[in-house]
């Protein structure tokens, strides 16, 4: 089995290659079909792993040595353990569903071939990132998905805002990419290896506190930038400029989870730095709360979901931070399902409302689109973690409850719980505004094909049912997940007995409180007095604006200075221009000598003779 692992990222890569080379001949329709087939093939291979040997012990497939210079050795090794298996299942299967959805969604759009090329390349990059056993290979995948994200956000590049959003995402994530690379360098400088499986035991065996602190902070910044955590979250709401399918795949289900995944993979590293995990937990909980509060005031359907993604990712980081990485991973899985569902559904909603994103203009959609309504509602249930019947109830609430148990978990618990209230609030506010109320006149006729319905149905089923893999402790029912991952990630703290029951109850109460909040908010919104009038919340606590005002400005100023001073005056003016003008001037002077006068030529000959005569002095007899 192991020797076939390369096929998993290989298929989408092949698809991208074929698309790039022969896409012109295939035509957009076949480009799309080809592109959709590739992740399906990948997910079939993943399925084969599930059904076959499983990933216990971890599967290793060393393809070849990429480069080897001294002790700098990069083996192209793919590694699949249980955690990875979850990730590649999400990436390939959700990726396939989104490819499928795109067939109808993007039909007739400009740049279809480009879209499918980048989508395939993205899936390949994501799979490489997750399967890499080597930090450099991981970084390769990391950069690939960053590039594809940039290209896909700017997919409708003819709109200046879209191109700007793509640039913003790229620049912000680049900061993280750079720090990640620096962190990798630091680790290599200390431990002379880039292989994760050999690095982590070394870290615990020979800790180097200062260096590990620096490296883990640098790597964490990389993860935060990729996963849009506070304060690097500013790119994600703007990235909603891309097609909804892209938001579903990249900015909800897969790429943004790469940061969480990185933290889980390098948990040994973070654990070796005292206080690091606690900081991650607090920051995660804070992000969850903060983004949820912002989501409550958005009027763009996709921006609501964007803030929700930031918030949910915060929960995942919180899970990692409190020492419950398996719960974090569980929530990652659940979130991938329901967020992909919500984004695709919102894409459909936007199409129905003729490209209007504003939820205040919507309403009563449940009468015209019952299928869409029920699937969307399933997603909203999952997001709001409605007790018992939604998956997130079993993942997110588990994280919040677990945080109550760990030492120093008070702050994360409080933030997480209030975040949960707000989450249910914005989720139901969105649902009430769009689907309830009286029908809006704006909606146009729109018929979803099977290509769109099947993915939605599958994801809706998963959003409801996948949580039943892992019931709360002490409850009857399966407890598969945590125990399955325990060999790799350990057992999370789990409240039992009365304490557990109380915590579960509090969580459920929070959800219902949130639903009430959402109903209230939706009503006020309809009346025109909604939370969206609160600039503070709507603008995301003014953080975006502040950062944009604070950081780029000095860079621009520096850039202007460099352009004016160094580039124009120095390089262009003195070096290049001076050189050019100097050459031109001397050439001109020389050409003046070539004036056709034979006697002038004779003069230059005699001058040369004089020069040679003077040289005689240099060599005395």
């Amino acid at each position: 089995m192991t020797e076939w692992l390369f096929l998993i990222p290989g298929f989408p890569l092949l698809g991208a290659l074929i698309n790039a080379l022969f896409g012109e001949r295939l035509g957009p329709r076949w480009c799309g079909r080809l592109a959709a087939t590739m992740p399906l093939l990948s997910s079939l291979v993943v399925l084969a792993i599930w059904l076959g040997p499983g990933a216990e012990p971890a599967l290793l497939d060393r393809l070849w040595t990429w480069m080897a210079v001294g002790d700098f050795r990069v083996d192209l090794t793919l590694r699949v353990d249980d955690v990875t298996l979850v990730m590649i299942s999400i990436a390939s299967f959700v990726g396939f569903l989104i490819h499928l959805f795109s067939q109808q969604y993007l039909r007739g759009d400009y740049g279809e071939r480009r879209y499918y090329f980048y989508l395939n390349l993205f899936v390949a990059g994501m799979l490489i990132l997750t399967m890499a056993n080597n930090l450099l290979l991981l970084y390769l995948g990391w950069e690939t998905v960053g590039l594809c994200s940039y290209a896909l956000i700017s997919h409708w590049y003819r709109e200046p805002e879209n191109a700007w959003a793509g640039r913003k995402a790229f620049v912000v994530t680049r900061i993280g990419d750079t720090t990640l690379l620096l962190g990798i360098f630091l680790l290599f400088a200390q431990y002379h290896t880039l292989s994760i499986s050999t690095l982590l035991p070394l870290v615990t065996a020979q800790p180097a506190p200062a260096l590990l602190l620096a490296a883990s902070i640098l790597i964490l910044i990389g993860a935060y930038a990729k996963s849009a955590q506070f304060p690097f979250h500013i790119w994600l709401p703007d990235s909603m400029a891309g097609p909804s399918t892209v938001s579903a795949l990249i900015h909800a289900a897969t790429m943004v989870t790469a940061g969480v995944y990185l933290c889980i993979r390098l948990l040994g590293l973070f654990a070796a730095v005292p206080g690091m995990l606690e900081a991650i937990a607090v920051l995660g909980a804070w992000t969850a709360f903060f983004a949820a509060s912002c989501g409550l005031a958005q009027v763009d359907v996709k921006r609501v979901l964007a803030y929700s993604t930031i918030s949910q990712l915060g929960y995942m980081f919180m899970g990692v931070g409190i020492g419950a990485p398996s719960l974090g991973l569980f929530h990652l899985l659940v979130h991938a399902c329901f967020k992909a569902l919500l984004f695709m559904a919102s894409g459909a909603i936007i199409l129905i409302y003729a490209d209007d994103h504003d939820i205040r203009h919507m309403g009563g959609l449940k009468y015209r689109q019952p299928f869409l309504r029920w699937t969307f509602l399933a997603g909203v249930f999952a997001l709001a973690a409605v007790p018992l019947i939604s998956a997130a109830f079993y993942s997110k609430d588990a994280i919040i409850n677990a945080s109550f148990l760990v030492a120093g978990g008070g702050v994360p618990y409080a933030l997480g719980l209030s975040g949960a209230v707000l989450t249910a609030g914005y989720a139901f506010r969105l649902y009430f505004l769009v689907f309830e109320g009286k029908p809006s006149e704006l909606e146009g006729p729109y018929q979803m094909g099977w290509g769109m319905k099947i993915p939605l149905a599958l994801l809706a089923a998963a959003s409801i049912g996948i949580g039943w893999l892992q019931f709360p402790p002490g409850w009857p029912g399966p407890h598969l997940w945590v125990h399955w991952l325990a060999p790799e990630l350990g057992l999370p703290p789990r409240p039992i007995g009365l304490e557990g029951g109380l915590l579960t109850l509090v969580g459920a109460l929070a959800t219902f409180l949130g639903i009430a909040l959402g109903y209230w908010a939706a009503r006020r919104e309809r009346a025109g007095r909604g939370l969206s009038r609160w600039r503070f919340l709507a603008s995301g606590w003014w953080i975006d604006g502040t950062i944009l005002r604070l950081f780029p400005a000095p860079f621009y100023a520096l850039g202007r200075l460099l352009r004016g001073g160094v580039e124009n005056l120095g390089v262009q003016g003195l070096a290049q221009g001076g050189l050019r003008d100097g050459l031109r001037l001397s050439a001109y002077a020389l050409a003046r000598g070539e004036n056709g006068l034979a006697s002038r030529y004779a003069v230059s000959m005699i001058a040369g003779l004089l020069l040679l005569l003077l040289l005689i002095w240099s060599w005395p007899l």
Binding site: E594, G596, L597, A598, S599, A602, I606
Partner: protein
Amino acid sequence: MIEIALAAAALLFFVGLALILLRRSLVFWLLGAELLFNAALLVALAGGARWHAISGQVLALFIMALSGAALAPSLALLLRVRRELGTLNVDGLRLLREREKQDD
């Protein structure tokens, strides 16, 4: 005596060069070249006298013959230049030269 011959050669050399560098007429240019050749003759003969060898005279004879040989086609060219270009002025030969660039 050799010193005087060499001084005479230097004199011939400089006047020959001066004719080439300063005079306007092509005839004087060629005369100047002849003076230079004569300077070479003097030096060659001075060398022969210095080393008591006949090879100096042999060299001088060859130089004499070759300078004469070079003069004949030069004068033929001079005549054609006078006929066809209508000038004997060294500054008049200006069909071929670096033109000022127009596109600068």
